[in-house]
């Protein structure tokens, strides 16, 4: 590192110049000559047999080039695979265009290709599909009942898998415990809602057999690999480009049916085609998140020592298994259940269930918010049961601070942690005792205010490939980089990560500029194009810096080492004597003999005076496979007020102390924390997908599904503690998901705290005004009834 380091500086983003002037290039901004447009005909039924499809009117409509049904393309489209395969898991067929049966509202059955988007949409309405409706099931628990309709022939009782993880002996711990608390905790289904919907453009050259797919994705290389495996079109003849991507949050992390459909139709017609998802379509055709029904039990002593946790989850997977779906409610959920705590007994079982709903996969946090919600909610339930303070009990059960590895009961080894430190810092920002006094005074005046805590950990830095592979991953999860130094000394960095708002161009430029001592304006970061960069894994699971950043560090070290040899040769000294600092190579202790970075780069390419045996050029490629995940943590505090008259819950303050290890750009990290908090608070207070029993999505537009607005939040108060990870040289753990993971339990704990004196012990999200109004009314009625019963008994 040089003395002029940009590491840790609030450098303004290099991405912004294009994005604030309207020069962004999202998929729908791209054009090609002769472009055709696709509209998809989708099932209006949750579950039905396709008896017949009549496309004749559509095919004859103005501007229509072709109409394809599932039966037409069945042989070419293949079946979309689950990319993560658990033991004894059912793997039902997933045709991109359904041809015999539809299994959710939104399942695509035909594709109309026309010369304008309007003509395609008009003609799609003329496709006549004769359906024979079948009974639907949308609830994961009900779908496992003996008399429930079965979605897939090879998936009896709709159970895709049963998965377990455990430690110690929970049954014995519970039998010996002074206190056992049980609760059913629902983590409702969410709809991710990136502001840019999905979109795809595909082009095929029959002469070269080269197929290019531009798609709004987080994983261009995995899309190419999976597309090739599914369709048989050779991988080296497919190029996938992720241009500017308008948010992802996990829902652009898969091979989607439409990517296959557009690619195959472009190939079939030898014409470029484009499909842009409408927002209403996005609600039914893009994956959803969460949707757990958890039966939880926590046990411990009367004085606050937790001894065990037991959880069974019905995880709703939707109608088909999406690419990462099996990993989300299992590995990313079960391995998180120890939280920051040292209890030794855990019994976790998960039933993955197919239902007549949109497929469920990762949504920001992906499994970890569900786990944190259960753990932190049960922590508060337990505290209330034993009548002890939620902070004192958390402190009593925390793992001790550690810098290099701590193995917890569930069997994973956390990298580094100081949970007391983060909690301590949060309590410096918030006067807890003062609040308790205020709360008592407020209650006396009829005001309902409460505070909630969430002391969380998460699994990030996806992922050590061997570990992930042993747990079911169908691909390595390492990351790659190339550093290409040009003859003038400017640098192009290629990364296999694929940002969609995270500011990688800025952050990776900061790292590169600091290491090479050159200005950021001399660095270009390239991502999201399989033709420009070799294989990479993409951006998800807060991995891009912890894994991709380290891959970049390795390539930078390699070019510096080679440049040192060249500089040493030019200066006539041994490479061991050469120091590289602030962009200058010099001989140790003799500053007169020095070569600037640009001169060495030129020398590498001019090659007239290279050391014997050294290849010309200055470029390095690296692949980094971490030996562990990273484990960020922190303490979030929410303060809420509930209006008894309307039931409205308002967020008064939100304090977040996160420890994501070392930070490259605090401005960018804070921004991601803010966004995560908003999504977590959104889940707690407003958001929730609702299906009717027959499989209709009742929250199918932005008018029905409550995406939070600026008015829903106060200014967030954020701070950090810094516990570097030993897993990578940057010491960075990853920061993309902390807010979403921590916020929902903090807010619900606060709301329960506000109503605790009324006897309320748990509330299921979202905390809608109606729900809260009824809860308060019923709780007060119950207390009145109890008092009068007591009074009668007293007589």
């Amino acid at each position: 590192m040089t003395s002029q380091t940009l590491i840790g500086q609030e450098v303004k983003r290099v991405e912004d110049a294009a994005l604030i002037t309207g020069r962004g290039q999202y998929v729908d901004d791209l054009q090609l000559p002769g472009l055709l447009h696709i509209s998809l005909v989708r099932s209006p039924y949750g579950h039905a047999l396709i008896k017949e499809i009549d496309v004749s009117d559509a095919a004859n409509a103005d501007g229509v080039t072709a109409v394809f049904t599932g039966a037409d393309l069945q042989d070419q489209l293949g079946s979309l695979p689950a990319g993560w395969v658990l033991e004894n898991m059912a793997q039902p067929e997933h045709p991109p265009l359904a041809y015999e049966k539809v299994r959710y509202v939104g399942d695509a059955v035909a594709a109309v290709v026309a010369d304008s988007p309007a003509a395609a949409i008009d003609a799609a309405a003329l496709v006549e599909v004769d359906y024979e409706p079948l009974e639907s099931v949308v609830d994961a628990e009900k779908a496992t009942a003996d008399d429930a309709p079965q979605l897939h022939e090879d998936t009896p009782s709709n159970k895709a898998f049963e998965w377990q993880v455990g430690a110690g002996d929970y049954a014995e711990a519970a039998a010996n415990a002074e206190v056992v608390v049980k609760e059913r905790i629902v983590n409702q289904r969410l709809i991710p809602n990136p502001m840019e919907t999905r979109g795809i453009m595909a082009d095929y050259n029959g002469g070269t057999e080269q197929l290019t797919i531009w798609t709004s994705t987080q994983i261009p290389h995995l899309v190419r690999l999976l597309f090739s495996l599914v369709t048989g079109h050779p991988e080296h003849k497919v190029r996938v480009v992720a241009p500017d991507v308008g948010g992802g949050f996990g829902c652009k992390l898969y091979l989607y049916a439409e990517e296959v459909i557009c690619g195959i139709i472009a190939k079939q017609l030898e014409r470029p085609v484009k499909w842009i998802e409408s927002r209403s379509e996005n609600y039914i055709a893009t994956t959803h998140g969460r949707d757990h029904i958890a039966d939880a039990e926590i046990c411990g002593t009367r004085d606050g020592v937790i001894t065990g946790l037991k959880i069974h989850v019905y995880a709703n997977l939707g109608a088909y298994l999406s690419t990462f779906a099996p990993a989300i409610p299992t590995i990313l959920f079960g391995l998180m259940l120890n939280g920051c705590y040292k209890f030794e007994n855990l019994d976790c079982s998960v039933t993955g269930v197919m239902t007549n709903t949109t497929p469920v996969d990762a949504y920001r946090g992906a499994g970890r918010p569900e786990a944190t919600y259960v753990v932190e909610r049960m922590m508060d339930r337990y505290c209330h049961e034993i009548g002890r303070d939620v902070i004192a009990v958390r402190r009593r059960n925390f793992l001790r601070p550690f810098k290099r590895g701590s193995t917890v009961a569930v069997g994973v080894t956390y990298d580094s942690g100081n949970y007391q430190g983060a909690l301590g810092k949060a309590l410096e920002m918030f006067d807890y005792q003062g609040f308790r006094d205020e709360q008592r005074a407020a209650r006396a005046k009829g005001r309902l205010i409460g505070v909630g805590f969430s002391t969380y950990i998460e699994i990030c830095g996806m992922a050590p490939s061997a570990v992930a592979g042993s747990l079911g991953a169908g691909a390595g999860l390492w990351e790659s980089s190339t550093v290409r130094v040009h003859p003038t000394g400017t640098v192009t960095v290629f990364t296999g990560t694929s940002p969609h708002g995270q500011g990688h161009e800025t952050t990776l430029s900061q790292i590169t500029a600091s290491r090479l001592g050159i200005p950021m304006t001399n660095i270009e970061v390239v991502h999201g194009d399989t033709e420009r960069h070799q294989f990479g894994t993409g951006t998800f699971g807060s991995r891009s810096l912890a894994v991709g950043g380290q891959a970049l560090m390795m390539s930078l070290s390699k070019v510096v080492e080679k440049a040192k040899k060249i500089a040493a040769h030019e200066m006539g000294v041994d490479a061991k004597q050469v120091v590289f600092e602030d962009g200058v190579f010099y001989v140790e202790d003799i500053r007169e003999r020095e070569m600037p970075w640009g001169d060495v780069a030129l020398s590498a390419y001019w090659a007239k005076n290279l050391p014997p045996g050294l290849e010309p050029g200055l470029e390095a490629v690296s692949f980094f496979d971490p030996d562990n995940f990273t484990w960020p943590f922190g303490t979030h505090i929410a303060l809420v007020e509930i209006d008894e008259a309307t039931g409205e819950t308002s967020l008064l303050r939100y304090i977040a102390v996160d420890d994501v290890g070392n930070v490259i750009n605090p401005m960018i990290v804070d921004g991601m924390v803010h966004g995560g908090i908003a999504q977590g608070v959104g889940q707690a207070l407003k958001e929730g997908a609702v299906y009717s029993d027959d499989g209709q999505l009742l929250t199918g537009s932005m008018m029905d599904y409550a995406v939070p607005t600026a008015e829903d939040f106060p200014t967030f108060e954020t701070a950090r503690t810094v516990t570097p990870t030993p897993v990578n040289d940057l010491g960075a753990k990853g920061a993309g998901e902390t807010g979403t993971i921590a916020a929902s339990p903090a807010v619900v704990n606060a709301a329960v705290d506000a109503l605790k004196h009324l006897g309320v012990r748990h509330l299921n999200m979202p905390l809608s005004s109606e729900k809260m109004w009824r809860t308060i009314k019923e709780a007060k009625a119950a207390r009145r009834a109890e008092r009068s019963a007591n009074a009668r008994r007293g007589k």
Binding site: L19, T21, G22, P194, G501, D670, G671, M702, A710, F713
Partner: protein
């Protein structure tokens, strides 16, 4: 039957033949190739398509192109003058008011109107003024900070 319309966009007068159902977004994006204005929903909820229509912020996905006949439209491409950022652009960059950038053009246009109506808005007024524009990345925190900063840059307090 198509209609001939005349619209001034970012100070440049254009004539175009449009069908009755062509939306203003489509005129801007598909006919005039001004793709900075985005479409994020189909229910006038998200505000990504917000432009200034005769000086007032309007959701261009809900206006027919023929309704803009004779109008003056400002899009994100028209905010900067002679290569200098508009204060709202400067503020969004300086205060990290954007991440993925998709909502940003509509968000900035709405912010311009907030500040035109009230050069020194309170935080509550800013949040209220932004409620017709959705962002999923920032939690609105830094968008609000950017609007405050733009107010300072423009001489408000």
């Amino acid at each position: 039957m198509n209609h001939q319309i005349r619209v001034t966009v970012n100070g440049v007068e254009h004539t175009a033949e449009v069908s009755p159902r062509t939306l203003l977004t489509s005129l801007l994006r598909d006919i005039l190739s001004l793709t900075g204005t985005h479409v994020g929903c189909d229910t006038s909820s998200c505000g990504a398509c917000t432009v200034l229509l005769n000086g007032k912020a309007a959701k261009s996905c809900t206006i027919f192109a023929v309704q803009a006949d004779g109008a003056e439209v400002t899009t994100v491409e028209g905010l900067a003058t002679n290569g200098d950022y508009h204060p709202i652009q400067e503020a969004f960059r300086e205060r990290h008011g954007l991440q993925c950038g998709f909502c940003t053009p509509g968000m900035m246009i709405t912010a311009v109107q907030i500040l035109e109506r009230n050069p020194s808005p309170s935080e509550a007024e800013i949040r209220s003024g932004l409620r017709g524009n959705l962002c999923r990345c920032t939690g609105y925190h830094n968008i609000v900070e950017a609007v405050k900063y733009a107010s300072e840059l423009s001489g408000g307090k």
